[in-house]
Amino acid sequence: MGVFDPIIELTKGLGETLRSFLMEPTVTVSYPEEKRPVRPRFRGRHVLKRYDNGLEKCIGCSLCAAACPADAIFVEASENTDEKRFSPGERYASTYEINMLRCIYCGFCEDACPTEAIVLGDNYELSFLNRRDAIYSKDMLLEPVSSENMLTPRKVEAGVFTRSVPEMQNPTD
């Protein structure tokens, strides 16, 4: 082993560093100032979706709770009226809670949902100071609305929103 061998090796190594510095794209991001976009199928914190008119998609059917392998979801339903309408149809979720500590982000709730109301979003930044805060209530989960008149509950024209589940369509093929 020659005297210069270490220096050669070191230069080789630094050369590799120089090469990757100049030739390869940067992969690290300066989180939290900078956030890396998630994949389209990423399963993050849940969102309760609304229809375009602002009515809630959730009808309080509890199928998500039934599908949940971690027993993290609690749903309780009540009856809609045209005077005080939350969602289309007769039934809405008066209580909707997800315990984020229990949730394993498997997405079964999303699969079970007949109205595509519960969707696992792209938010992965969940932190709580106590166990109680880990329970996300309905108002925390609901999608925000763009204007005041889309808020729920609201008064709607009688006899328009009578069906809870979107109509089944005839196959088009």
Binding site: S78, E90, T95
Partner: protein, 824 residues
């Protein structure tokens, strides 16, 4: 047992009683044939076509009458088309194929047809999860439909049939189970089909809508979510519910129920009862439950529940510790040892009553039953024999119902008596007015109020009616307290007991006396030694009273007055009442949903109920409270658990000898099979896995000498001019605390009305719907007049527990109120 026939189902040889349908025989043999319209308790109609199967029958040689043989086997001729398993009766040598390709194809097709216009809104449907259509579609449906979704019928989602039952016409598959139940089982055809073909829909135009006290049962047997109850509407999904066995605490029938519970946000995160469902007991309630039992359970919840013991301090009730409260009460009871009275009602369980009775006996007090009805000591002697099952009474048997409107007082007994009449039993209804049972009665006796004794004595004279009763194979008498108080029922029960004894209708199954008590466990109270007293005011005056499970102050102003002049009052109840307000000490008790215990039904069946929800606040079971109080008084009673108390009770009370909680929890297989995974067959009624109960043996059956005291005839009340004879009667939905708390029953409870004969009303110049003032015996009240042409003149009939305190017949002054009420 009827004749058995042998047939082959899916290659398996089975035997079934003759006359059974193929669907039922298959069920019995463990083969599931899908059905919608068929129900084991209803006549077959073959409307839904779901049970299509291949049926083959042996070919007989016409000349010889012998079966034609083929390869050493009888030749089987299959019908060219599929047949309905529900309308074909089993026959010897029949071959049934339920799983063949042809049969499967037929079943698949039927599901496809049924779904052509079904909204498939299972996610919001209350039936979703326990829905026969859902289950059978998963099992037998093709998964695809060839029909056009655009052509589904769109109708208004919810049509109330009444205030209790809602109809969703889109979901209805026109199986007519509900219509047939109302017609065949309940005998009240208040549901019907309107229109034809695809437009067929269920209607009810009775007043009020769906006017039947059995309406809730239609939601159990509805194979889809077309009929749902207003109480459970969107309440929970069935799979989220826990089930615990219970006994209905509303009336002496003792229907077996299941309490479905769930944690609820609306109830502040507590576990609450979401619905009451029938639990099968073919000897008690079969698979049915009346609406009162189903809907009037809300009294166990709410703000009025007592949660903490209270002691009166400076004229006000203040919260206290258990120790302090029991000590205060004990000191007062010990100080007034000679005047110690325990007043308890049949709302309590046997364990509670036993501890109370033990306390009263040991402390030298008196144990009084809070009831307007006497005769329980006679049902102990000549009550119905062990093995009694009204469901087996029929041709050759007789049932006498006297001074009781079973429909209003004990609906499931009404149903069972009506069905016995359908089977050919001689039903004799003796009542001073027309009742709903008259329609099914063989004989109706209409006597005047006060003539109860004479009516029974007339059975000794020879007549068609007395012959029918005397010569009957088996005979049961139901007696109630319509128009009677404690004294009157004491006389009547003796007369009935004598009649049964003289005609030999005692001491065996389906023979004996049944008291139609006011409360669920009055019979139990009698067994344990409680007795009602004729003059309760006098019995309470100047005493130190321990009131348990009763509200005398709220019920009767005279009792309220009497309780003002007492030395001390301790009240133990589950809710705030007018009586707890005047109490010196209040003990919060647990409701029957929160604890274990046993009740004894009018048919003397001891049955267990189980704790279903956690106790409210600091409340404790009644027996435990009594034991704590007893300890402070120096009496040692068991209060650790219901079963321990029951063991001592069973050893102390002779009739209950050797009974244990284990024996009460025994079950056996019952027919029809219900409540298992196959909800499509029997409906959503629960299977009985927690005990059928044990019927006590009356003394007459045990071989003891039965002595019945001589019947005294009391002087009839004589109303003067401008006076009427006021008589009490019973109403199913009344203002009693157990009913009132269910808001949706408000309309059924209705306004307080009194009934008079039109002639009587005319004499007082009262029109129908007019408000009259009644005054009698310290009671002042107002009520609306209703005409009843079936009662005698000179009488005003006043319902109990409707705001007018009436415990027994009295003479009343009647005055028409100046401002006439609006006639309706």
């Amino acid at each position: 047992m009827s004749k058995q026939v042998t047939l082959t189902i899916n290659g398996k040889q089975v035997t079934a009683p003759e006359g059974l349908t193929v669907a039922d025989a298959a069920k019995l043999a463990g083969v599931d044939i899908p059905v919608f319209c068929h129900h084991p308790k209803l006549e077959p109609v073959g409307m839904c076509r779901m049970c299509l199967v291949e049926i083959g029958r042996p070919v007989f040689d016409r000349a010889t009458g012998q079966p034609v043989m083929e390869n050493g086997q009888p030749k089987i001729q299959f019908m060219p088309k599929l047949e309905t398993a529900c309308t074909n009766r089993v026959s010897e040598g029949m071959v049934v194929l339920t799983q063949s390709e042809k049969a499967n194809d037929g079943q698949r097709g039927t599901v496809e047809f049924l779904l052509t216009s079904h909204p498939l809104d299972c996610p919001i449907c209350d039936k979703g999860g326990e829905c026969p259509l859902q289950n059978l579609t998963m099992e037998h449906g093709s998964g695809k439909s060839r029909f056009n979704y655009d052509e589904k019928q769109h109708l208004e989602k919810m049509v109330p049939l009444g205030e209790l039952i809602y109809l969703d016409r889109e979901r209805c598959i026109q199986c007519a189970r509900c219509i047939r139940f109302q017609d065949e089982v309940a005998g009240e055809a208040v549901l019907g089909f309107d229109e034809r073909g695809r437009h067929t829909q269920i209607i009810s135009i009775s007043e009020p809508g769906f006017d039947s006290v059995f309406s809730g049962n239609t939601t159990d047997i509805c194979p889809v979510g077309a009929l749902t109850t207003v109480d459970f509407r969107f309440g929970a999904r069935p799979w989220e519910l826990k089930a615990e066995a219970s006994i209905c605490s509303q009336c002496p029938v003792g229907c077996n129920t299941t309490l479905n519970t769930r944690r609820e946000a609306k109830a502040g995160g507590e576990i609450v009862v979401k619905r009451v469902m029938p639990r099968q007991n073919e000897e008690v309630n079969e698979i049915w439950l009346c609406d009162k039992g189903r809907f009037a359970y809300h009294y166990t919840e709410g703000k009025e529940r007592l949660t903490k013991p209270m002691v009166r301090k400076d004229e006000k009730l203040a919260r206290a510790s258990w120790d302090n409260a029991t000590k205060t009460a004990a000191e007062n009871f010990v100080a007034n040892k000679k005047d110690f009275v325990v007043l308890a009602s049949g709302r309590l369980s046997n364990e509670d009553l036993f501890n109370l009775k033990s306390l009263a006996d040991t402390a030298g007090g008196e144990a009084i039953l809070y009831s307007d009805m006497d005769g329980g000591e006679l049902t102990q002697l000549v009550g119905v024999g062990a093995g009694t099952n009204l469901g087996t009474m029929g041709k050759g048997d007789a049932i006498l119902v006297i001074a009781s409107d079973l429909y209003e007082e004990a609906p499931i007994w009404w149903l069972r008596v009506k069905q016995a009449a359908d089977r050919g039993a001689t039903v004799i209804v003796a009542n001073p007015r027309a009742t709903k049972l008259d329609r099914f009665a063989t004989y109706t006796i209409r006597y005047s109020y006060g003539d109860e004794l004479k009516t029974i004595n007339d059975f000794e004279k020879k007549s068609k009616i007395s012959d029918a009763f005397t010569k009957a194979k088996n005979a049961v008498i139901f007696y109630g307290n319509e128009g009677l108080g404690v004294t009157g029922t004491s006389v009547l029960s003796s007369a009935c007991a004598n009649l049964l004894k003289e005609t030999g209708h005692t001491g065996s199954a389906n023979n004996g006396l049944i008291g139609v008590w006011q409360r669920a466990n009055d019979q139990g109270a009698f067994e344990i030694g409680f007795r009602p007293v004729a003059d309760l005011e006098k019995a309470l005056k100047n005493k130190a009273v321990y009131i348990v499970g009763a509200d005398p102050v709220g019920d009767d102003p005279n009792l309220a007055k009497a309780l003002k002049n007492v030395k001390f009052v301790a009240v133990q109840d589950i809710r705030e009442t007018a009586t707890t307000e005047i109490a010196d000490v209040v003990f919060p008790a647990q409701a029957f949903t929160e604890r274990d215990g046993t009740l004894i039904s009018g048919e003397r069946r001891v049955q267990r109920f189980y704790a279903a929800v956690p106790a409210v606040g600091d409340s404790k079971p009644d027996y435990a409270i009594t034991a704590m109080l007893a300890k402070q008084m120096g009496v040692i009673l068991q209060g650790t658990s219901a079963s321990v108390v029951f063991d001592i009770l069973a050893n102390s009370v002779e009739a209950l000898n050797e009974l244990t909680y284990d024996a009460l929890a025994q079950v056996k297989e019952q027919w029809p099979l219900v409540g298992r995974n196959d909800v499509y067959y029997g409906g959503t009624t629960y299977d009985n896995t927690k005990g059928l109960g044990v019927q006590l043996i009356p003394l007459a059956q045990a071989g003891g000498a039965v002595k019945i005291s001589k019947v005294r005839k009391e002087a009839a009340l004589r109303p003067k001019d401008k006076e009427l004879l006021a008589v009490p009667s019973n109403k199913l939905y009344d203002l009693g605390v157990t009913v009132q708390t269910a808001e949706f029953l408000e309309q059924r409870i209705g306004e307080t009305s009194v009934a008079m004969h039109p002639t009587t009303a005319k004499k007082f110049e009262a029109a129908e719907g007019q408000v009259v003032k009644l005054s009698f015996d310290g009671v002042q009240a107002e009520a609306v007049v209703k005409f009843d042409e079936t009662i005698g003149t000179g009488v005003v009939r006043i319902p109990r527990s409707m705001g007018i305190a009436i415990r027994e017949p009295v003479v009343a002054k009647v005055q028409v109120k100046a401002a006439a009420g609006k006639a309706k």
